[in-house]
């Protein structure tokens, strides 16, 4: 079991850029001060609006989609969809507005694992994988990038993904449910094809809707590939103290669980999504008990 990452903090961040990003999505750039740790791909932050315009009680978790160093700290990029109360309120913030940002939180994708990395993104789940692709590029590792969505419009940030791959090498494989771009169907078919073309072990890093992750997990477990999946859960604290975000462990994971494992991460039955995750290897979770 990997060790928990401490070192988060809560800071006031400023909106540096905020604009519509296609298919109802938004791109948000937040400037965080130097004290804020640099996030890794797959890590997330908890964003909380100033109370005067905040319709929700709890902060909202968001994966980091990009990190750039700047004078006096970092600029963090986010790609999100305004699906409910909190994210719709977030979407009203103008440049210059401030938000409370807690992070970096959780454990990201283990991009240094041996094997050929295959990134699998579904819709707005592309966010952390943009960051992962960039990081893999800097590490000098070639990645294959499978990107699916319900239709071509929902291949959000496709240009970003292309630019990244163009810069760092690697290939893009598109698919849509309706066939309006790339192959028709889910990401599993392109994933199969890509994997078939790879010599040696394949390591998947995926983020997307639950059904997609479940399908990728199935495929990976059936094909002896590792699959690191960015999971979601309702969250309150994001730091392991509230115990609000359990994901059921698989039987092997339960058996492997050691009683002296850090309790912050979880217990024999449940892993906390915010501390042990949000990224889990497919075999760690009990997919029948996760909805």
């Amino acid at each position: 079991m990997r060790a928990p990452r401490p070192g988060w903090s809560q800071v006031t961040a400023r909106v540096a850029e905020h604009s519509p990003y296609g298919a109802g999505h938004y791109w948000l750039d937040l400037d965080v001060p130097a004290g804020f740790g640099a996030p890794e791909p797959g890590q997330f932050v908890q964003i909380m609006l100033p109370s005067i315009v905040n319709p929700t009680l709890l902060p909202r978790p968001m994966s980091v989609a990009a990190v750039a160093r700047r004078a006096g700290g970092h600029r963090l990029g986010f790609l999100y969809a305004p699906v409910g109360t909190g994210t719709r309120a977030l979407a009203t913030l103008a440049r210059g507005a401030v938000v409370q940002t807690l992070g970096p939180l959780g454990r990201g994708f283990p991009l240094d694992q041996p094997g050929t990395p295959v990134l699998v993104a579904g819709g707005r789940g592309v966010a952390p994988l943009l960051f992962a692709a960039e990081r893999l590029g800097r590490m000098g590792r070639r990645a294959q990038f499978v990107f699916g969505a319900r239709d071509r419009a929902h291949l959000v940030a496709l240009d970003e993904a292309k630019r990244s791959l163009a810069r760092w090498g690697g290939r893009l494989h598109l698919c849509t449910d309706d066939g309006s771009r790339g192959s028709r169907g889910t990401v599993v078919e392109p994933l199969r094809r890509v994997a078939a073309g790879i010599d040696g072990p394949v390591v998947i890093h995926a983020c997307g809707p639950h059904a997609m992750l479940a399908a990728v997990a199935d495929w990976a477990m059936a094909h002896d590939a590792r699959a690191w999946l960015a999971m979601e859960s309702v969250m309150a604290c994001g730091t392991g103290v509230c115990r609000g975000c359990p994901l059921a462990r698989s039987e092997p994971s339960r058996r492997a669980f050691r009683d002296d494992a850090p309790s912050l991460l979880g217990n024999r039955d449940y892993a906390m999504c915010c501390t042990e995750g949000p990224v889990f290897e497919a075999r760690e979770l009990d997919w029948e008990r996760i909805h």
Binding site: V241, R243, G244, P246, N267
Partner: protein
């Protein structure tokens, strides 16, 4: 520069004196060390740790949290490491951080509580014990089981013989009279009562027709319950002469002062810590500033100083 008059924030809870009236609420601050890198637990009046049970509990299935208007429902189900690991692993960490530790314990029967009290009641480094008589999220031994004055009184009398430390009884708000329960606690020998734990609530996902939680009900916390918790805290404070710890929706120093004015001797910061890990210290700092601005020197001057209005027009 005007000379600062000394401000004594200390609070007596039976045999225990805590340095200031702001403590963490059980279950919202883990075992007290998780936030240590952003908030010195020794700077707080005390840290009340997550309720521990005789055996470790893995907690309820997800979903365990559902946000509601200005509040959150939780049905954690007392996930905890168990009393043994608490004593062997968590308590030493907290002691090394020099925090004042109030250990929360929860049991399904008077007998279980007695055994728990035998573990923690005299353990070195435990300054007080909060007995959680009010968990809304367990199948047995939850809030309704303990909402019986005689049962509470008898159980506390028995527990009293097992500890000389500050013994605090944490009450559920979901009763006809929290004053009656508080009186039973006082009679049973509690040094203080905490009013209140979460309120039983429910949220339904209308698309699926099921609970938004894995159980039918959960406990509601946060700003939504503040006016309700305040009324119950006030009722408890008027019912007994032992100190009352206020809990429910306290997010700021002004909230804390409301509870003190209503009769609380100290306040617990709960859900606020999920939003801002430094919330408890923030509440303390704000409270201190408010008290200084009022030229208060001791908490007695504000405790219960709330001026009750006349009777209703009839």
């Amino acid at each position: 520069m005007p000379r600062r008059r000394p401000l004594d924030l200390s609070v007596r809870i039976g045999p225990l004196t805590i340095a200031n009236p702001v403590v963490t609420a059980s279950g919202t601050y883990g075992y007290g060390d998780e936030y240590a890198h952003v908030q010195d637990p020794a700077a707080l009046g005390a840290v009340i740790t997550k309720t521990v049970t005789l055996r470790p509990r893995v907690g309820n299935a997800p979903a365990r949290i559902a946000e509601t208007a200005a509040g959150m429902l939780n049905t954690i189900g007392l996930e905890n490491v168990g009393v043994e690991r608490f004593l062997s692993e968590k308590l030493p960490k907290l002691r090394s951080l020099r925090a004042t530790v109030i250990a929360s314990i929860g049991g399904e029967t008077p007998g279980e509580l007695a055994r728990l009290m035998d573990w923690v009641g005299e353990a070195p480094g435990v300054s007080g014990i909060e007995v959680n008589f009010s968990c809304p999220n367990v199948a047995r031994g939850g809030a309704r089981y303990w909402a019986v004055p005689r049962r509470l009184e008898r159980t506390l009398s028995d527990l009293r013989r097992r500890t000389r430390r500050a013994m605090i009884a944490k009450l559920s708000p979901d009763v006809t009279s929290v004053g009656d329960l508080a009186r039973a606690c006082e009679a049973g020998g509690a040094d203080a009562v905490t009013a209140v734990n979460t309120f039983v609530g429910m949220a339904i996902d209308v698309d699926r027709g099921t609970s938004r939680l894995s159980l039918a009900t959960g406990g509601l916390s946060g700003p939504a319950i503040k006016p309700l918790a305040l009324a119950r805290c006030h009722e408890a404070a008027r019912a007994v002469s032992i100190p009352v710890l206020g809990s429910g929706g306290i997010m700021s120093g002004r909230d804390a002062l409301e509870f003190l004015l209503a009769g609380a001797a100290a306040v617990q910061v709960g859900t606020a810590s999920f939003l801002r890990p430094r919330a408890a210290l923030g509440v303390l700092e704000e409270l201190e500033a408010l008290l200084r601005a009022r030229d208060v020197r001791r908490l007695d001057e504000v405790r219960g100083a709330y001026l009750a209005p006349g009777a209703a027009h009839v």
